[in-house]
C-alpha cells in the first residue's frame, strides 16, 4: 500500500502548533531565515522554477513561470493568497488555516522576499470564521516577534499581511473574481489578458497563489530543489523534439470524500492511481466503484474503467479530466448519476455570477433539463424511418423499425457545449466557470448515458448496475482520446 508522505501536514496535529513558540520548535521560520541568509530573491525564484511546482489551486500552472511574468519595475506589487476554498470536495486549506497558520505566513514571507512584494492580502472564505481567527492571531504574533512589519530581521525587508473575508460567492475563487472582490466590487471575473501578473489588484502586478502552493515554498527552500524533485513523476512532453520534461513534483493534499470508509485529507506524492488512493482512504464503502470525480466537482468524471489513471496534473489532463484542486469524490454502486449531476448543476446554477449571457442563462437551463429527467419527465420521441430489410412476410421492403431519440440528452449536450465546448476546449464566457459547468454535464451524460436513457424511458430515476450504467471505453465519443503519459526516465 502507498504510504502517506506528510510534509505540509507533518506537524499539523502537534498541540499548539498554531502558536509561534511551538511552531518555532519545529523548524518554524528557519527556512525563511535560510532564504534571507543564503539566497538572493532571484535565486529563490529560480529554485521555484526548477522545482517544477505547479499551482495547487486548480489550473495547475507552473508557479515559477507565473512569477517570471511579473514586471519588476512597477511598484507596488501585491500578493493575493487564495484561501477562498469553495470547490465542492475540497477541504485541505481549511486545516492549514485552522491548525498551522504560521506555515502559511512563512510561505508568504518567502514569496514576498523572492518577488519584492510588501503587501499581501489573504482572501479567506466568509464561512471560515475559525480559520480567519487563527490566522489573524498568528499574524499578530508574527508582528510581535518581528517576522512581519518593517525591517524584518534587520534586512530592510517590509512585509504586511492582511486578511480579507469573502462573503459566500464561489466565483471569488477564480483569480480575477477574487481581485474584483478584494477591490470591494461584485466578484465578477475580468477578461484576460491582461493577466493579474501584469495588471491585478488595484491595477498593479499581482501574484495570486493558493494556500497549498505557498505552503510548499518553505520546504523547497529548506530542503533544496533536488529533494523536492525526487517526489512525484516527471513525464516527457513528446510534443517537442527532443522531449521536454514535464514535472509533476512534490506532494498533494488529496481530499477524499463520498463513499470511502475514512474520508479526509491524505498527503501523498503526486502520481498514485485512483485505486491506490481509495485503498489509502480505508477502502470503498460499498461493493464496487461506480464513478470517481478526480478534482472537485468541476472535473469530468472517471468511470470504473479509468481507475488506473494516475492522479497528477499531466495524467489527468491527458485522460481529458483534471486534478483541479484535488478534491476526490467517490461514488459506489448505489448512486444514481443523474441525481448526482442534478446536485452539481444546482450548485453551478446558483453560483453563476451572471456576467456572461451563455453562463447566466445556460446554467439554469442545464439544471432544468437534468431536473426534468430526474423527475421522470425527460423528453423523447419515437421516430419511424424507412429502413430497407427483410420484412415479416419474408420479402424485401420497409421493415418499419423505430428509433428512440432522447431529445433532452441532445439538448443537454447542446446547451452545455454552447456555454463552453468540451471537445474544442473553447468557452463563450469570460472565465473558466463555463467549462466547469459543461465538463461535468457532458462527461456524466456521455459516460453514463444508459442511466440517463433509462430515466427518460422509465419515467423515473433508475439506478442501473455499474457494468450496465457505464459506456465502455471503446466508445470514443464518451471518452474522447485518452493518453497515458510516459515518464521521462522511461524514454530511450
Amino acid at each position: 500500500m502507498v504510504q502517506e508522505k506528510r510534509i505540509l501536514y507533518e506537524h499539523l496535529n502537534v498541540p499548539d502548533i498554531n502558536t509561534f513558540d511551538v511552531y518555532r520548535q519545529y523548524d518554524g521560520y528557519a527556512r525563511f531565515e535560510k532564504a534571507l541568509a543564503e539566497y538572493q530573491p532571484d535565486d529563490i525564484a529560480k529554485m521555484v522554477m526548477d522545482s517544477g511546482l505547479k499551482g495547487r489551486g486548480g489550473a495547475g500552472f507552473s508557479t515559477g513561470l507565473k512569477w517570471s511574468f511579473v514586471p519588476k519595475d512597477i511598484e507596488p506589487r501585491y500578493l493575493c493568497c487564495n484561501a477562498d476554498e469553495s470547490e465542492p470536495g475540497t477541504f485541505s486549506n481549511r486545516y492549514v488555516l485552522e491548525k498551522n497558520p504560521h506555515l502559511l505566513i512563512e510561505g508568504i514571507l518567502i514569496c514576498c522576499y523572492a518577488m519584492g512584494i510588501e503587501t499581501t492580502y489573504v482572501y479567506i472564505r466568509g464561512e471560515f470564521t475559525l480559520g480567519k481567527q487563527m490566522l489573524d492571531a498568528a499574524i499578530k504574533e508574527a508582528y510581535e516577534q518581528g517576522y512581519l512589519g518593517e525591517n524584518i530581521r534587520d534586512t530592510g525587508l517590509n512585509v504586511n499581511i492582511y486578511t480579507h473575508p469573502g462573503a459566500g460567492a464561489y466565483i471569488c475563487g477564480e483569480e480575477t473574481g477574487l481581485i474584483e472582490s478584494l477591490e470591494g466590487k461584485r466578484g465578477q471575473p475580468r477578461n484576460k489578458p491582461p493577466f493579474p501578473a501584469v495588471e491585478g489588484v488595484f491595477m498593479k502586478p499581482t501574484v495570486v497563489q493558493n494556500v497549498e502552493t505557498l505552503c510548499n515554498l518553505p520546504f523547497i527552500v529548506g530542503n533544496g530543489v533536488e529533494w523536492y524533485t525526487e517526489m512525484g513523476p516527471t513525464y516527457a512532453d513528446t510534443r517537442e523534439d527532443p522531449p521536454k520534461p514535464d514535472p509533476n513534483t512534490g506532494t498533494k493534499l488529496y481530499c477524499i470524500s463520498g463513499d470511502v470508509n475514512e474520508p479526509g485529507v491524505y498527503e501523498l506524492e503526486l502520481g498514485l492511481t485512483c485505486t491506490e488512493l481509495i485503498e489509502v482512504a480505508g477502502g470503498l464503502r460499498g461493493e464496487e466503484v461506480k464513478a470517481v470525480i478526480p478534482g472537485g466537482s468541476s472535473a469530468p468524471i472517471l468511470t470504473h474503467y479509468e481507475l488506473d489513471t494516475r492522479l497528477d496534473f499531466t495524467s489527468l489532463t491527458l485522460a481529458k479530466s483534471m486534478l483541479g484542486s484535488g478534491g476526490i469524490i467517490v461514488m459506489n454502486e448505489t448512486r444514481n448519476i443523474v441525481d448526482c449531476l442534478l446536485n452539481i448543476m444546482k450548485f453551478y446554477a446558483h453560483e453563476s455570477c451572471g456576467q456572461c449571457t451563455p453562463c447566466r442563462w445556460g446554467t439554469p437551463w442545464v439544471r432544468d433539463i437534468v431536473q426534468r429527467i430526474a423527475d421522470g419527465e425527460g423528453r423523447k420521441t419515437t421516430i419511424t424511418r424507412p429502413k430497407f430489410g427483410v420484412t415479416e412476410s419474408g420479402r424485401w421492403g420497409d421493415t418499419g423499425e423505430t428509433e428512440e431519440i432522447y431529445e433532452d440528452l441532445d439538448l443537454l449536450e447542446e446547451v452545455a457545449n454552447n456555454i463552453a465546448n468540451v471537445d474544442t476546449m473553447t468557452w463563450n464566457t469570460i472565465c473558466v466557470f463555463g467549462i466547469a459547468v459543461s465538463w461535468p454535464a457532458v462527461s456524466y451524460m456521455r459516460k453514463f448515458r444508459p442511466e440517463f436513457e433509462a430515466a427518460i424511458r422509465e419515467g423515473k430515476l433508475v439506478t442501473l448496475p455499474v457494468a450496465e450504467a457505464t459506456v465502455p471505453p471503446e466508445e470514443n465519443y464518451a471518452y474522447q482520446q485518452r493518453f497515458i503519459p510516459k515518464e521521462f526516465s522511461e524514454l530511450e
Partner: protein, 174 residues
C-alpha cells in the same frame, strides 16, 4: 439624492468598538472602496442585517454611491437584506454532503423547527415564528470529510445525525 430614493427612518452609526475596527481596516487598502466586504461584515454583525441606513452609512464612509453598496450586498449570499433569526443555521447540501445523507438531517431540522428553508429573496420563509432560527441551504462548506455538516452562526457542527441535531438545538440558549 440617495435619501430621496431610499427611505431611511433611523440612521445607522457604528458603535465605538466597531468604529475603531473600521478605522483600522481602512488603512489596509490603497483605495477606500476595497474595505467594502469587511465593513459590511462589521455592520451586519452590529445590526443583524443590512438595512438601507447601513448601506447609506457605508457608502458615506467609503466614499462611493449607495447603489454601489447595494450592488455588492445583492451579489454575496452572506449579506442579508431582511431580518434573520438569532441563530442562522446553514446546511450544506452539495454532492459530498448529499452522498452522506444530508437530506435526512435537513428534513429533521425542518420538522423540528417547523419551518421551511429560506430562499435568498425570502428569508422570512425559513425563519421560525419566535425569531430564534433561520434555516437556509448553502453550497459546499469545505468540510466534506466530516459530512453532513451545518453551521450555526459561526460554528461548524460535523458528522450530523438527527439525534445530534436534537442535542445541539437543546443546548443553544434562548
Amino acid at each position: 439624492m440617495a435619501d430621496e430614493i431610499i427611505q431611511i427612518e433611523t440612521p445607522f452609526q457604528f458603535n465605538e468598538e466597531n468604529r475603531r475596527e473600521f478605522d483600522e481596516l481602512i488603512g489596509r487598502y490603497p483605495i477606500k472602496e476595497a474595505a467594502m466586504l469587511p465593513t459590511l461584515h462589521l455592520a451586519q454583525r452590529q445590526e443583524g442585517y443590512i438595512t438601507p441606513a447601513v448601506m447609506k452609512h457605508v457608502a458615506e464612509l467609503l466614499e462611493v454611491t449607495v447603489m454601489k453598496v447595494k450592488d455588492v450586498v445583492t451579489f454575496y449570499p452572506m449579506f442579508f437584506e431582511e431580518p434573520v433569526g438569532k441563530y442562522v443555521i446553514r446546511i450544506c447540501h452539495t454532492l459530498p454532503c448529499a452522498l452522506r445523507d444530508c437530506k435526512v438531517v435537513l428534513d429533521h431540522l425542518k420538522a423540528k423547527l417547523g419551518t421551511d428553508v429560506a430562499s435568498e429573496t425570502n428569508l422570512a420563509k425559513g425563519t421560525t415564528d419566535d425569531g430564534k432560527f433561520t434555516l437556509m441551504k448553502v453550497e459546499c462548506l469545505a468540510s466534506c470529510d466530516v459530512a453532513p455538516v451545518i453551521m450555526v452562526n459561526d460554528d461548524l457542527y460535523k458528522n450530523l445525525t438527527p439525534e445530534k441535531i436534537d442535542e445541539l438545538l437543546e443546548q443553544l440558549p434562548n
